[in-house]
């Protein structure tokens, strides 16, 4: 390394007559720097004045062939000191604020003079010298300032209250100067030195003092003062041969939802979390400091009280539970709600008899009994949503909603997924809506139940009341009336379907709740009423019942006669209510049932499940969705290659989501076959999204990689999934042919033609910039939707998904939506307006991820010249392929190099040089050592890691080297140790 020189530079070192200051001055002068040696010549406690100390140092410098002048002013006369420099040497480049004194005494003995004197020398003195130098440095576009703080200031030290105050004050002072000076290349750093000097010889033992000679401090100071050093705003501890950088560490802490008062008790109970450093961040800027607050205000409290904490409870997902039923359970339930009273009624018989001629037809409301039973079971096992602090004595089953997606099979294996869907504040009480989704064993949704639980006395936190579910009864005579007497023992029969609450069986227990006798289950009444509606309005065919909702108004006593009155509505639904005839009491109100016009198909045929997007889109693919086309191509491929099935010998079930479909690929029986839906028992079930499936089938994504990234879930025989390689053998051309022209493939990165909006040109420039700066995708990692007004237009900037894009359009998956006037947008992108100013001036509305909007600063980096050129190209109609950006490995490599330049010694933490050999992509080989990155292998690199671009990329983001290694994605040859430290690369790419 060539010698670092300071030729032509001029430095002021204050307090340079002795100790650290003298050492700094001598070192700088020995490397060609012209030095103003400032020293008042006083005692280290501040008294006296003499020119001797400064003169001595100047002669030392001159004797060694250097240039220096002495200055004897107090630092409080900063202007005079700066003037010495400009008078003697004509410029000023470096200021080392080093002068200091001590007035140590414990605080109770400290006089105001002690306090004030320390302040004046350290803080006011540093201010005066700096202020005199500041504009001079800004104007010349160059300056290096070093402040001298102390461990006493950082950590506190007995007897140094005044000194500690002054020293930490300098840190804050320097940090702000660093921000303000950065643009003008005026860089500011602070050191907290420990050295034997006149100031410390009174407190430290001699042996230690010897080791702490100033010569160990000055090299860092000199480096920070050198033009090649770009560090600014940093704090270092230095001395005794050790140099360290300090930074702040902040606990993740505790975030309380805003909009609710925070009780002191909450602070106490959260204090361990507030002070827990096991998870922490290292904020370096005031923006970093604000992130936690910004994040927190994004999610204001939804309220709550001592009974219900909405923030905690809402959205809680209960553990999944499984159950099954068979035809016996179906019959038992139907009998429990009164079916089969007339065994000669064939339509009713189908509800209770598994061998009925038209097949068994379970009542949809059975899913309510099953799902609610599962939830009750879970509750009895102690599974409770967090934030629900009320006893069972407060709750009432208020409303029930049941929807079946398709007719229930006579037997099924089920999985129930329940969550707290809504919590409403009804004033005195609260309503908790628990949604239970029930899936069959092919994973497709079978039924949705919503249980509205009324919690007495738990409302009143000022939350939302929720929708009004009142349903008006038409003012006319009912269109139908069904009357049916329940059995005296009805509840005893119904309870066998799962709800074994003794309230419905045990007279003593019922009496304790104030009932003369056990009452009927609410859901039993619900089932009766559903049957009545089915009977009167749907030919007694339960398959026609799509959904049913009712509010429980009053309990029913077994033996009472239920009268269900119904009113058909124009949309085919039926409004109904149910009364207990003997008491003339309404027992079910606000009730409505939706009916199908014809019986829906029993099982999900994938071709039926419509894509989530506009249904019209299917026209262009001639009725065949891409997924279907791929499976169809797979079927043809297998037919042409019977040997494939022989070699695999497994049956796979593919569960594709979004849009959902289920496929069985049988590579076991015969020549193999592909069919929609579940066919026979599968060895291995694979779940993935439609998009990932298409990527996998087209060879763009590797099944193993999808699996490792958890995008592909495999259950059953895991080893069978190994044999999926046969997919690679499918001719992609065939798949493409199947897809035809209708494949709505998007071509990201493509710049679309300029729209009417004047902002369009700007986006062409942005698109051009993104294409040339692919690393921005890693750094920004967000997708923005701009909604412009006057004239209105909408644009998307995708700096999240490689290769990125910018252009007109809309996006539902944008991280952040920005709404502003076109004029303001133009001002913002031309640098005339700042996004933050627009935001605070309410000219820019941001929804979604507020933090994402902070990343918009990349817009400022766009070179207007290049943007104009891009627009010209686009308008000229010339189709130019956007310049291909550097490869992933090159980007990581560049990031490593940049990191080492910015933080020399960073890579030394690897504990040895490491050669990176890329196994794919550009197959590049480079070596990282403590000095930097070099091409190829190196003799001194005892560790070689071989890895793919994706693994290297992942390492530079957040992947741990141990995991990559154990997964076989990172191969280590030679010394293993340094590979352990490779997680050091984490975070290089944000």
């Amino acid at each position: 390394m060539s010698e670092l020189r300071y030729d032509g530079r001029v430095a002021i070192v204050t307090g340079a007559g002795n100790g650290l200051g003298r050492s700094h001055a001598l070192l700088l002068a020995s490397r060609g720097c012209k030095v103003v040696v400032n020293d008042l010549g006083g005692a280290h406690t501040g008294g006296g004045k003499s020119s001797e100390a400064a003169d001595r140092v100047v002669s030392e410098i001159k004797a060694a062939g250097g240039e220096a002048v002495a200055n004897y002013d107090s630092v409080e006369d900063g202007v005079a000191i700066v003037k010495s420099a400009t008078d003697a040497f004509g410029r000023l480049d470096i200021v080392i604020n080093n002068a200091g004194i001590l007035r140590d005494t414990s605080f109770q003995k400290m006089s105001e003079q002690d306090w004030d004197l320390i302040y004046r020398v350290h803080v006011l003195g540093a201010y005066r010298v700096t202020a005199a130098a500041w504009n001079l440095m800004r104007d010349q576009g160059y300056g290096r300032l070093i402040f001298t703080a102390s461990a006493a200031g950082i950590y506190g030290n007995f007897g140094q209250a005044n000194y500690a105050m002054a020293k930490l004050g300098l840190v804050g002072f320097a940090n702000t100067l660093a921000i303000e000076g950065k643009k003008k290349n005026v860089l500011v750093n602070t050191i907290a030195p420990i050295a034997g000097s006149r100031m410390t010889e009174t407190v430290l033992p001699k042996e230690l003092l010897d080791a702490l000679e100033p010569g160990y401090v000055s090299p860092l100071v000199a480096f920070l003062a050198h033009e090649s050093c770009e560090e600014t705003g940093s704090l270092f501890e230095v001395g005794g041969g050790v140099m360290n950088k300090l930074r702040w560490e902040r606990t993740v802490g505790k975030s309380f939802p805003v909009g609710r008062p925070i009780a002191i008790e909450q602070v106490k109970s959260s204090f361990a979390k507030i002070t827990d450093f096991s998870k922490s961040t290292h904020p370096t800027t005031i923006q970093d400091s604000l992130t936690a607050v910004l994040d927190n205000v994004q999610k204001p409290s939804k309220g709550g009280n001592e009974f219900i904490d909405v923030d905690q409870a809402l959205g809680f997902e209960f553990p999944k539970v499984r159950s099954s039923y068979d035809s016996r359970d179906v019959a038992l339930y139907a009998l429990g709600v009164g079916a089969g009273r007339d065994p000669m009624d064939a339509s009713e018989l189908a509800q209770v008899y598994e061998a009925a001629s038209e097949g068994m037809r379970p009542l949809p409301t059975m899913t309510a009994a099953i799902a609610v039973g599962q939830i009750m079971k879970a509750a009895m096992e102690g599974v409770q949503a967090p934030g629900m602090n009320y006893g069972l004595d407060r709750i009432l089953h208020g409303e029930q909603y049941t929807k079946v997606i398709r007719p229930l099979p006579p037997e099924a294996k089920l999985e129930h997924r329940a969550k707290i869907k809504d919590i409403w504040d009804k004033g005195k009480g609260a309503v908790v809506v628990t949604e239970i989704k029930t899936y069959d064993d092919s994973g497709s949704l079978l039924a949705i139940n919503e249980v509205n639980t009324f919690v007495r006395g738990a409302g009143g936190w000022g939350g939302e009341r929720g929708p009004n579910t009142d349903i008006a009864i038409p003012e006319r005579a009912p269109d139908f009336v069904v009357e049916e007497k329940t059995d005296e023992g009805q509840a005893l029969l119904y309870r066998l379907s799962g709800d074994i609450n003794p309230l419905h069986a045990d007279p003593g227990f019922a009496a304790a709740f104030g009932f003369n006798r056990p009452i009927l289950h609410g859901l039993c009444t619900f089932g009766f009423a559903a049957r009545h509606v089915v009977k009167a309005a749907a030919n007694n065919d339960p398959r026609l019942l799509s959904s049913i909702r009712a509010r429980f108004a009053d309990p029913v006593i077994p033996g009472e006669t239920l009268v269900t009155e119904g009113w058909r509505r124009d949309d085919g639904s039926v409004v109904f209510r149910c009364k207990a005839k003997e008491r003339d009491k309404v027992v079910l109100t606000n009730a409505v049932a939706e009916l199908h016009k014809e019986v829906p198909k029993a099982s999900v045929a994938p071709s039926e499940s419509k894509p989530a997007t506009s249904p019209g889109a299917s026209k262009s693919t001639e009725g065949m969705r891409p997924t279907e086309a791929v499976f169809s191509a797979m079927g043809e491929f297998l037919a042409e290659n019977p040997a494939i099935a022989k070699g695999v010998g497994k049956v796979y079930l593919f569960k594709i989501t979004g849009p959902d479909s289920v496929w069985t690929v049988d590579l076991k029986n015969g020549a193999g076959s592909v069919s929609a839906g579940v066919k026979g028992a599968a060895d291995c079930t694979l779940e993935l999204t439609d998009t990932d499936w298409m990527a996998m089938a087209s060879g763009a994504a590797d099944p193993m990689k999808l699996y490792l990234s958890k995008q592909l879930k495999i259950s059953g025989d895991l080893m069978a999934s190994q044999k999926l390689d046969f997919l690679k053998k499918i001719d992609p051309e065939k798949v493409k042919a199947k897809l035809g022209d209708g494949n709505p493939a998007t071509s990201p990165g493509a710049t679309q033609s300029a729209p009417e909006s004047p902002a369009g040109d700007v986006f062409i420039g942005i698109a051009d910039w993104i294409a040339k700066n692919p690393e921005a995708i890693g750094r920004v990692g967000k997708k923005f939707l701009f909604v412009l007004t006057d004239p209105s237009a909408s644009f998307v900037i995708d700096v999240k998904n490689a290769p990125g894009s910018a252009g007109p359009g809309a996006a539902s998956d944008a991280d952040c939506t920005l709404t502003l006037a076109t004029e303001d947008f133009m001002a913002m992108t031309s640098g005339k307006a700042d996004p933050q100013q627009l935001y605070f001036g309410k000219k820019l509305a941001i929804t979604g991820d507020l933090m994402a909007s902070q990343k918009l600063s990349f817009l400022k980096k766009i070179d207007p010249e290049q943007a104009r050129a891009a627009v010209a190209r686009a308008k000229g109609g010339a189709v130019t392929e956007s310049a291909k950006g550097p490869s992933k490995s090159a980007q990581v490599r560049a990031a490593i190099a940049a990191k080492i330049t910015a933080h020399p010694g960073w890579s030394a933490e690897l504990g040895g040089a490491v050669t990176f050999a890329l196994s794919d992509g550009d197959k590049s080989v480079f070596t990282v050592d403590d000095k930097g990155v070099s091409e190829g292998r190196a003799e001194h690199a005892k560790t070689t890691v071989t890895l793919g671009e994706d693994a290297l990329w992942a390492l530079a983001k957040d992947a741990k080297s141990a995991a990559l290694y154990q997964h076989g994605e990172l191969r280590v040859d030679g010394l293993v140790g340094p590979a352990h430290k490779l997680s050091l690369l984490n975070g290089l790419l944000a």
Partner: protein, 393 residues
């Protein structure tokens, strides 16, 4: 007081590669006859037979011993994955030690297919499902043979932890080949250099092809008897079982997300500990060891599990030559699974055969000088581990 159990006869066939062997009943009966002849016992003296194999339909055991005799004795078919042979041995030892029999025959055989181990039944829960889950969590699953992924993964984990060189793993195979060169019963008799081993195809980093045991066909057998029976037959100073222990998986196999633990490190360590406790002897009393080197990685791990060296010191142990002639122990003088071959059901009894020969001093060129105490380690995923200590006074 438990009765002493003697191993009075052993025998085995020359191990062969799949397709080049006799059928199973021939291999098994040949081994059984050899063991009976070695013991000088007539088949009519045998009261029970324990027959181990992994691949085959039910009652292959009977079909095999019917070749030797039809005396109507109880025949037990034993299946316990790679530790099948020593599991049969364990049952036979129990029968004699507990006074339930005086003289029993133990046979193990395997007729294997070409290629890596796989599942035969895919319409039911994979018995190794929990093991696969651990692996899946730790390192995912790829297309390599699953046993290589499991033991290789354990080797990977060890290497990460201790920075072990690739050559160290290869050196185990080099030693195995060197030992096997002197064993006429072994599948491989040619030696390989560390370079050749490392240069063979990679199966699963850090394992190369020559670091994986081959699919093998073969049979091996032993005759066990009580002290009274031996006396009656005029057999003196027989090799006897000083202690034997069998373990299956502990919770650590599944809840530590560790490949090393998943492949049964704790099963081995605990079984060895129990054997040392029961026998009152320690590793330092042992001269010769046959251990389960299905892959080089597992031999390395097993050194530490059996206490032959301290944890983390296997690399030094290997380079110091403490696993071969002239060192502290001779491990796998027979060539081990790596070079002698690994017919699953026969392996446990082939290990026993080698050690009995060693203790009798009849191991020819392979003889370990002054062998008085021998240790056998046989491990199966799924899992079971049997550790047996043999002595001759």
């Amino acid at each position: 007081m438990a009765r002493r159990v003697n191993v009075i006869g052993v025998g085995m066939t020359k191990f062969a590669k799949p397709g080049a062997s006799d059928d199973y009943h021939v291999m098994a009966s040949q081994a059984a006859r050899a063991a009976l002849a070695d013991a000088g016992v007539d088949y009519r003296d045998i009261e029970q037979a324990y027959v181990g194999y992994v691949y085959g339909d039910s009652t292959c055991g009977q079909r095999a011993v019917y070749e030797v005799g039809l005396t109507g004795i109880p025949v037990f078919n034993v299946n316990n994955n790679c530790s099948t042979g020593s599991t049969a041995l364990f049952l036979a030892r129990q029968a004699i030690e507990g006074g339930l029999a005086e003289c029993v025959l133990v046979v193990g055989f395997e007729k294997m297919e070409k290629g890596a181990l796989g599942l035969k039944y895919t319409d039911r829960v994979n018995p190794l499902e929990q093991h696969v889950d651990v692996m899946n969590k730790a390192q995912g699953v790829n297309g390599a043979p699953f046993a290589a992924q499991m033991f290789g993964g354990a080797g990977r984990e060890y290497r990460w932890r201790h920075g072990t060189r690739r050559e160290t793993f290869a050196k185990i195979s080099e030693k195995a080949r060197k030992h096997a060169a002197n064993n006429p019963y072994a599948l491989f008799n040619t030696q390989l250099s560390v370079e050749e081993i490392l240069a063979s195809d990679e199966v699963f980093d850090p394992l190369t092809r020559y670091q994986c045991c081959p699919p093998t066909c073969g049979g091996a057998a032993a005759v066990l008897c009580s002290e009274e029976f031996a006396k009656r037959k005029g057999i003196t100073n027989a090799v006897y079982i000083a202690a034997q222990s069998m373990t299956t998986d502990y919770a650590s196999s599944f809840n530590e997300d560790s490949m090393i633990k998943m492949v049964g490190y704790d099963m081995s360590a605990q079984a060895a500990k129990q054997v040392y406790e029961k026998s009152g002897l320690g590793p330092s009393d042992v001269q010769v060891v046959e251990l389960h080197d299905c892959f080089t990685a597992n031999e390395l791990l097993t050194y530490e599990a059996l206490g032959l060296c301290k944890e983390g010191e296997a690399e030094k142990f290997i380079w110091d030559g403490d696993n071969t002639y002239g060192g502290r122990f001779v491990t796998n003088p027979s060539g081990g699974l790596l070079s002698k071959g690994h017919p699953l059901g026969a392996t446990g009894l082939a290990q026993c055969t080698e050690l009995v020969w060693q203790l009798r001093g009849t191991a020819d060129k392979r003889q370990v000088a002054g062998a008085r105490v021998a240790l056998q380690h046989n491990l199966g995923l799924g899992g079971a581990c049997v550790v047996t200590m043999y002595r001759r006074d």
